[in-house]
Symmetry: C2
Subunit: 128 residues, 2 copies
């Protein structure tokens, strides 16, 4: 997992870590304060923070005994940018197209059997 984008997505793939980020969206917080809502031990939270730090999503300062954690959203921007390439695939318009094609498959099975169906499936439709 070397590339930054993979690190970011991996860091987000845990509900505890996403909750920590949500808390940090409200402002800087200490580690114990971040740990409070969860039933896990402090070292577990420390590990989660290390994952978030490695992904560049959290920066930790130094304040006497406290290590104030701050959200750093730049990697989220990259993740959102990657997802943006797929926005057209979840637009209402395309969903309707998907349903239309699926309905055609169910309605015309005989015609599909007569034709070289797998060619159509793997090539022709592959180009839409």
């Amino acid at each position: 997992m070397q590339d930054p984008l993979s690190n970011t997505f991996a860091a987000l793939a845990d509900p505890t870590r996403r909750a920590i980020l949500a808390r940090l969206a409200l402002g800087v917080s200490s580690v114990t304060e971040l740990a409070r809502p969860f039933e896990i031990s402090m070292p577990a939270v420390s590990k989660h923070l290390k994952v978030l730090e490695r992904a560049g999503l959290v920066v930790r300062g130094r304040e006497a005994q406290w290590r104030p954690c701050r959200l750093q959203a730049a990697p989220l921007k990259d993740a959102a940018g990657w997802l943006e390439n797929y926005r057209r695939f979840w637009s209402i318009h395309l969903d309707a197209l998907e349903r239309h094609l699926d309905r055609m498959d169910q309605v015309n099975p005989k015609e599909a059997q007569a034709a070289p169906r797998h060619r159509r499936h793997l090539s022709k439709r592959g180009q839409r």
Copy 2:
């Protein structure tokens, strides 16, 4: 990893799987066709597809020997929706605010020592 959002982010946290999705964005594809660009074995690709399928990002049909894979973008929509909550944190405006606050920390350390600094750090600033 039970919740769908975690499954989605975990599925995206691998460059091979993201490349598979990118290929599927061009259209339906068979497994061997998907495997071609990579140096890994077929079972490895099969496993990646299983991960993507479990995340709901891919649906596999049946076409003679072929298992045509199709992109299913709905989970990406949810992931993008989650990220959207953090958009304000990577806007230019807020980055400038961050830099401003950091500069204040560096410029006013004496005043900070006189005041109960950790309270300010952990509470007052936490409310912005």
